[in-house]
């Protein structure tokens, strides 16, 4: 009996219509899948670049940044911010109770005690001391290893200490502050990388000198507690930020002491001496997001610290995770920023004020608006832009890791889903304190 089924009719080449559609469907699916790695921000492995210049448009007249113009320093000398705005919060307000604020300010214990001051002054204090803290003694002969082996050892040691990620790059003088400014003593001086200097030191004229032999920069990331960050901009989130700074000071000092114990020089850096984000990008740890922060390969909830050394190390290459592609369509941080300090729209090469480092094509945050909000917020650091970022998710879930990788492809759709799922919402501190214990 002849087959009268319409779908089983064959073409002149002997292919049934059904099989034709099956093949076409498979071809379309394969083509769609094949596109993923070709977008430049693939889902399998991040694309690498040879240098930061391949990823970012940096103008030729790009100048080193003067730390004095950094927003925290401006609060010390710029008449525009004197007197600083008064706090608009008090302990009777939800999110700012005695309990919340105590938890917030206690988080800073590690970094604000023992003279460390988390490097927001000009470095070389407390845990960030440029001289040995005396825990390891330099050997008679420096430890010898190939750069690859040494880099592996450093990364392994960092990993086992609990450091979230480690990358290695070399000194790029463009990203070092031209001058330092000490917010405590108001000391101001030049920062020089010198070919003739044999050790890092402070000259009598106030110049800080770093020998060019200390050309390797180990860039490391410390994670901040997810649950505490989720309460931003309330009091408890301040503790999350502070604890990130506290733990990174300890990590930086430990790594520096380890290297000194191998017979090499080491300078631990917090937020001082050189810009953190460009160095982290150069070390292959992530990209700069719309919020001006590093969106790293381990997420958005990180603090950056560095150790400069003369221990020869194999370096890493910058990576393109597709973060900027995603940020173009996301804008969630701009929408959620209580100070409206984060820009919407495209990247630019000029920022809104002197606290921006002009000359790189990126999103420039209005640091003045951001910092003034902190004052109004009672000195509580606001990290709402990190807390609300779709790249900020709890650790340990492969589903979120997958989501981060396909974010550049999904773009704005992911933000809609993220909102629908309730991620990035402010967790009220009364709810925060009622959570059950994990163990």
């Amino acid at each position: 009996m002849p087959d009268t089924n319409e779908s089983n009719k064959t073409t002149s080449k002997g292919i049934s219509r059904r099989n034709f559609f099956k093949g076409a469907g498979l071809l379309a699916a394969t083509a769609a899948m094949a596109q993923l790695p070709l977008t430049g921000n693939n889902t399998v492995q991040a694309a690498t670049a040879n240098s930061i210049n391949d990823l970012y448009e940096i103008s030729k007249d790009f100048k080193r940044f003067d730390q004095k113009n950094e927003m925290f320093c401006r609060m010390e000398w710029d008449p525009k911010f004197m007197p600083p705005p008064k706090p608009l919060i008090n302990t009777s307000m939800p999110g700012y109770s005695v309990l919340d604020q105590a938890a917030g300010f206690a988080g800073w214990t590690g970094t604000n005690s023992l003279g460390t001051q988390f490097g927001w002054r000009s470095g070389d204090e407390g845990f960030y001391s440029w001289a040995s803290l005396g825990n390891t003694k330099p050997p008679q002969e420096p430890w010898q290893a190939s750069p690859e082996e040494a880099a592996h050892v450093i990364k392994l040691y960092a990993q086992d200490l609990g450091i979230a990620a480690t990358g290695i790059t070399t000194v790029d003088i463009r990203f070092f502050y031209s001058h330092y400014f000490h917010r405590g003593t108001k000391k101001y001086g030049e920062i020089k990388i010198s070919d003739t200097a044999t050790k890092a030191e402070l000259l009598p004229d106030g110049t800080r000198v770093i020998p060019s032999s200390m050309k390797y920069v180990i860039v490391m990331l410390a994670s901040m507690p997810y649950e505490m960050m989720a309460t931003a901009p309330y009091g408890v989130s301040h503790g999350g930020t502070g604890f990130g700074y506290s733990i990174m000071a300890l990590y930086a000092a430990t790594m520096a002491e380890f290297i000194r114990g191998l017979g090499y020089n080491a300078i631990p850096l917090g937020g001082d001496t050189a810009l953190c984000v460009p160095q982290a990008i150069a070390a292959g740890l992530g990209e700069a997001g719309r919020n001006g922060m590093l969106i790293s390969k381990v997420g958005a909830r990180v603090r950056i610290f560095r150790v400069m050394t003369d221990l020869p190390l194999a370096t890493d290459k910058p990576i393109n995770l597709g973060v900027r592609e995603f940020c173009k369509s996301c804008e969630k941080c701009a929408r959620e920023c209580p100070a409206q300090a984060i820009p919407y729209g495209d990247m630019t090469t000029e920022g809104p004020n002197i606290s921006n480092h002009h000359g790189i094509k990126k999103w420039y945050v209005n640091a003045e608006k951001c910092r003034l909000f902190w004052n109004e917020n009672g000195g509580i650091t606001c990290i709402r832009c990190i807390a609300t970022c779709p790249y900020n998710k709890p650790d340990g879930y492969w589903t979120h890791a997958l989501g981060n990788k396909i974010a550049p492809i999904l773009g704005g759709t992911l933000v809609t889903i993220d909102d629908m799922m309730g991620y990035g919402k402010i967790v009220e501190t009364k709810d925060y304190w009622k959570r059950p214990l994990r163990n």
Partner: protein, 101 residues
């Protein structure tokens, strides 16, 4: 998380047995591909919903169940369309015996 991994392993095994051993979907390439996608989608959906609950995000669990559930239904309908699978195996046997008359 260990229990979840075990549960997902059991779920995968049951689905592989159902779709490949019992329903013999390996015989045609398109049903084979569809069955693999169906299994992967189901495991991902279940994992996403449970981990969202574990991380204290019931809203995320509900939304993910809704979003991935739609895909789950579409895949199930496609599986039924192309491989004539049935949730209750005796149904297909009954049909065969009726048509055999």
């Amino acid at each position: 998380m260990g229990i979840l991994g075990f549960f997902l392993g059991v779920l995968t095994s049951v689905m592989v047995y159902w779709l490949f051993v019992k329903e013999k979907n390996y015989q045609k390439w398109h049903t084979c591909v569809l069955a693999i996608i169906f299994i992967a989608w189901t495991v991902f959906t279940v994992d996403f919903v449970i981990t969202s609950l574990l991380e204290g995000m019931p809203q995320a669990a509900a939304v993910s169940a809704l979003i991935f559930g739609i895909g789950e239904i579409i895949l199930f309908v496609l599986m039924r369309r192309f491989s004539k699978i049935s949730l209750i195996s005796f149904k297909s046997e009954t049909k065969t015996s009726v048509s055999g008359k």
